[in-house]
């Protein structure tokens, strides 16, 4: 599970549930933001690109703030709930996601340090080809299965937390994830996949 642990002391020590229940100032929201920004941004930017992600992530926190009473305090971590809000927002931006997944893989701006292993021109071409295959395979997934798979792969949620993020039961979330894996196995080039992945 990707939820960062709360520190032991100070305002930052409060759980997500406590923060949301008492959220009446920007400082509380800032704590929540610092705690979950990175996971949310990685997830959203992976789906629609860095520039469009800024808007969606900001909107996710604004909705979370205005609808904080809807958060179930029995959940210690708000990340699945936030991911669910972001996923809903992404559904209205499916055109942006399709464009992103159709982008030339070599042009994706990924940030971070360059991979030294890719210095070689041939390795770069191979990597771009592999990325293209992965993006095409993800694009071909059914929307509900794509949501389940990407939340799991990019945020690390599974089981009940995946269900919270998708707004479905844990078993329904697991079924979607399982189906997505089957489709990806069928559409991804076999050379890219691990031989022992069936044991996952």
């Amino acid at each position: 599970m990707a939820c960062p642990p709360a520190p032991e002391h100070g305002e930052r020590a409060r759980s997500d549930g406590q923060l949301l229940a008492e959220l009446d100032s920007n400082s509380g929201l800032r704590v929540l933001y610092e705690r979950h920004f990175e996971h949310l941004f990685r997830y959203v930017a992976a789906r629609i690109g860095r520039q469009a992600a800024e808007d969606v992530v900001a909107e996710t926190f604004v909705i979370a703030f205005t609808r904080r009473s809807a958060f179930d305090p029995s959940h210690a971590c708000a990340l699945p709930w936030l991911i669910g809000i972001a996923t809903n927002l992404l559904r209205s931006r499916w055109r942006a996601e399709r464009r992103h997944l159709a982008t030339d893989p070599g042009r994706i701006e990924r940030g971070g340090a360059p991979d030294p292993a890719l210095d070689d021109t041939i390795a770069r071409a191979d990597a771009a080809s592999a990325r293209g295959a992965v993006m095409r395979a993800v694009k071909r997934l059914r929307p509900s299965e794509r949501d389940a798979f990407l939340v799991h792969a990019l945020v690390g949620l599974e089981g009940a937390e995946l269900g919270v993020a998708l707004g479905v039961s844990p078993s329904a979330a697991s079924v979607r994830l399982h189906r997505a894996r089957i489709r990806l196995r069928a559409t991804l080039p076999s050379t890219l996949l691990s031989h022992d992945e069936d044991r996952e």
Binding site: D24, S25, N26, L29, R30, Y33, F37, F41, R42, A45, A46, R47, G49, Q51, A52, A53, E54, D55, V57, A58, E59, F61, V62, I63, F65, T66, R67, I85, N88, L89, S92, I108, E109, R110, G111, G112, A117, A123, D126, A127, A130, V134, M135, A137, V138, F149, L150, H152, A153, L154, A180, R181, L184, L188, T191, L192, L193, S194, H195, E197
Partner: protein, 402 residues
């Protein structure tokens, strides 16, 4: 790249983006700005402005939709609306009360009552000029049981501006940025179930329940949708009924808001007088509510006598209504403009801090047709460009399909 990966690893390696410190700062700044402007889910600051000052439930905007609405209006409105009416030259110099009373008389035969299974369909267009300019097209279907569907289409009236790679709404701060080739638009749909004052707002793929809020009151929070038919039609009884309802609503509206909202306590109705809410609600009801012809006439007569019954608040002058004479609305239709003014003598509201006068607005009426053509709200002060709400078409229909 290692050629032996699980699908999860492959996807992470392919799509994952590393957030930078600049991303973190920019997103936080965006959140603070949106919350500072009182944005709620599915709303834009511009729409919030329209709702706050015109107090319609969920008003809405245009682009091509505006053009369509305008064309449709020509087909829907009676011929008298286009001419402005033969009484217009006479009433242009009459008192404001005479104009309102003449409109009340005509209103008794202007629109039929809304029957069971029927809706009052209203197509309106709102324009905000100047900074953050946009147009909003609104279509609403409202039944006498309180059920309603309101579709808003908002579009900036000028092309967006490129800011850090994105096309955003044109504002004063980004006016020097490069223009985008497109306009900023948004569609919001609000539904009310029969007997409920909780609106379900659908925007950006998200549905949000909107209970009667402190931030953006509208006529439904003063008169629940299914209560409209129970309001009396006689002028004095109508005023008493609206006052009692406004008193309850104002108490809710003036509760302190959460930290971070400005102002924390909105004292508009304390300073201007609770009767400001009566006047505003009456205007909103005339624009959108399924009133009977008698109620519509009673409402206009009640407004005609407002200088006699309006009780100003702690820091306000008595209400004044002036006849500004003949005018044209945003669609070029002739009408008579009346200016309602409630001057504040001292200011403590957020609006007044920006130089606005919360009680100043114009009504443009077609007395012969018995119709309200347009409202103009001076939220940025009497000398600033007003926010326009133009009633393009209004009729009784039997479905919400069109």
């Amino acid at each position: 790249m290692n050629q032996h990966r699980t699908p999860e690893t492959l996807v992470r390696e392919t799509l994952e983006v590393e957030p930078s410190a600049a991303d973190r700062g920019a997103v936080w700044q965006s959140i603070v700005e949106r919350l500072g402007e009182g944005e709620a889910p599915g709303r834009t600051p511009t729409l919030e402005l329209v709702r706050r000052h015109l107090r319609l439930p969920r008003l809405a905007a245009v682009g091509l939709a505006a053009l369509a609405a305008t064309l449709a209006a020509v087909a829907l409105l009676p011929a008298g609306d286009e001419r402005g009416g033969s009484q217009a030259p006479l009433l242009a110099t009459a008192s404001a009360a005479e104009v309102l009373n003449a409109t009340a008389t005509s209103a008794r035969s202007a629109l039929p009552a809304v029957g069971p299974g029927e809706y009052l369909f209203t197509r309106a267009s709102s324009a905000i000029r100047g900074e953050g300019a946009s147009t909003v097209g609104i279509e609403s279907w409202t039944a006498t049981d309180g059920s309603a569907r309101i579709v808003e289409r908002e579009r900036s009236s000028r092309p967006g501006r490129h800011v850090r790679g994105r096309c955003v709404e044109p504002t004063r701060s980004n006016r020097r940025a490069k223009r985008c080739t497109r306009y900023i638009s948004q569609v919001t749909t609000t539904s009310y179930r029969a007997g409920s004052d909780i609106g379900v707002v659908a925007a950006n793929g998200v549905e949000t329940r909107m209970p009667p809020p402190q931030l953006s009151p509208n006529w439904r929070y003063v008169v629940p949708g299914d209560d409209v038919v129970r309001m009396p039609a006689e002028r004095d009884a109508l005023l008493a009924s609206l006052r009692a309802r406004a008193e309850r609503a104002a108490r809710v509206y003036q509760r302190p808001r959460p930290k971070g909202y400005f102002p924390r306590v909105d004292r508009t109705y304390e300073l201007s007088g609770r009767d400001l809410l009566v006047v505003e609600t009456a205007t909103d009801l005339l624009v959108e509510a399924p009133l009977s012809p008698g109620q519509r006439a009673g409402m206009l007569s009640m407004l005609a006598d407002a200088p006699d019954w309006y009780q100003p608040g702690a820091s306000a002058e008595p209400i004044q209504i002036r006849n500004l004479g003949q005018t044209k609305d945003a669609l070029g239709r002739n009408g008579i403009a009346l200016k309602f003014t409630i001057e504040l003598t001292s200011g403590e509201t957020g609006d007044e801090a920006r130089g606005a006068s919360p009680g100043t607005f114009d009504l443009v009426l077609n007395p012969e047709a018995g119709r309200l053509l347009e409202t103009r709200s001076y939220e940025h002060g009497p000398a600033a460009e007003p926010v326009l709400l133009t009633v393009v078409a209004q009729r009784v229909v039997d479905s919400t399909d069109g």
